[in-house]
């Protein structure tokens, strides 16, 4: 069994591949060195700083993400949405874990508020210091993950109908702001400098919510657990749910 010829061949193959890829690595490193010396520096850096005063934010990374290259960020939020819709299309979520012990529950009671406050702080400072919608959304999403680990199968998220609106909020506000600017003659995602700060803040707030919900829902790993996910009740999949009376509704196993 240990002298399996197939295993030996696989080992040989992986060694051969290792050698070939090492050569590729060396070649890429040489190429990279040549590219570094091409004299393209400072690339876009100086221009990005020179235009910064007109962007409405002081953090240059936020300026790139939400102003110079806002269109990328819009589509990236769409990527996150697509991944989550893909996860939902695979069926209802697996049941959550057992209710946590006192230690975890105690931890949750201070770590979740801490994450939420830090997330809000990061969102606010993102305009002029490291931080922004992604980091804030990630922290809020992490709070959801912890809530689920502590026993809430919904990871603290609202019922499906509300969840769907929160999920699309980021892309929706982003697109509508972009189109609105176009209608008023400024051009798609072309912020007038006076309004830039507030439009970006609005987009960032919506994006933070959407990112947080998407990440937490991805961790839940399926259509929201709840009566609407039961196959027999498939026809009511979009009924607005009243707030769940029990935090852990029964979930059918697949």
């Amino acid at each position: 069994m240990s002298a399996d010829p197939g295993a030996a061949r696989r080992r040989d193959l992986s060694l051969l591949l290792a050698v070939l890829l090492a050569l590729l690595g060396v070649a890429l490193t040489i190429i990279y060195f040549m590219a570094l010396q091409a004299g393209a520096a400072p690339r876009l850096a100086d221009l990005a700083y020179a235009r910064l005063p007109g962007t409405g934010v002081q953090n240059p990374v936020t300026a790139v993400l939400l102003n110079y290259r806002a269109y990328d960020t819009l589509m990236e939020l769409a990527v996150l949405l697509a991944a989550l819709l893909g996860i939902w299309s695979l069926g209802p979520a697996a049941p959550g874990f057992q209710r946590s012990g006192a230690v975890l529950a105690g931890m949750v009671s201070w770590i979740v508020p801490l994450l939420i406050v830090t997330g809000g702080y990061l969102l606010w400072v993102g305009g002029y210091a490291p931080g922004g919608a992604f980091q804030a959304g990630a922290l809020l999403g992490a709070a959801g993950v912890i809530v689920r680990l502590a026993g809430d199968p919904r990871a603290g998220l609202p019922a499906e109908a509300a969840q769907r609106w929160l999920l699309v909020l980021g892309v929706l506000v982003f697109t509508l702001v972009g189109l609105g600017l176009m209608v008023f003659g400024a051009g798609f995602l072309t912020y007038p400098p006076k309004l830039a700060k507030w439009l970006i803040l609005a987009i960032e707030m919506a994006a933070t919510v959407a990112i947080a919900v998407a990440l937490a829902a991805a961790y839940v790993g399926g259509r929201p657990p709840g009566p609407e996910a039961r196959p027999t009740a498939a026809d009511e999949d979009a009924e607005p749910q009243p707030p769940a009376s029990s935090p852990r509704p029964p979930v059918p196993g697949r």
Binding site: V61, L122, P130, Q135, A138, A142, V145, L215, Y219, G221
Partner: protein, 93 residues
């Protein structure tokens, strides 16, 4: 002169550790261990990016890449372990 040499040594140590963590994550056949090493790799990467004056990206990598990505992978590793442990894993002849 000596200060810049020191800096290069410092950079070297950071990078060797990074590569070692990556190699360990990639070579570990045990899912849980591999994921733990991957999370450590992600956090170390965030540290290096902070050193390269990219604090925004470092924050995002720590929170999203290592944190949430790691949590998702841990859940998958747990599922894999459960499936491997279930008795009907044995194949019928």
């Amino acid at each position: 002169m000596s200060q810049s040499t020191l800096l290069i040594v410092f950079d070297g140590v950071l990078l060797v550790t990074l590569l070692a963590l990556a190699a360990a994550a990639v070579l570990s056949p045990e899912p849980r261990r591999a994921v733990m090493l991957f999370i450590a790799f992600g956090l170390w990467l965030a540290l290096i990016w902070a050193r390269l004056q990219a604090p925004d990206v470092a924050l995002a990598e720590a929170a999203i890449g290592a944190g949430l990505g790691g949590a998702l992978m841990l859940a998958a590793a747990r599922r894999a372990a459960r499936s491997a442990a279930s008795p009907d894993r044995e194949r019928q002849p």
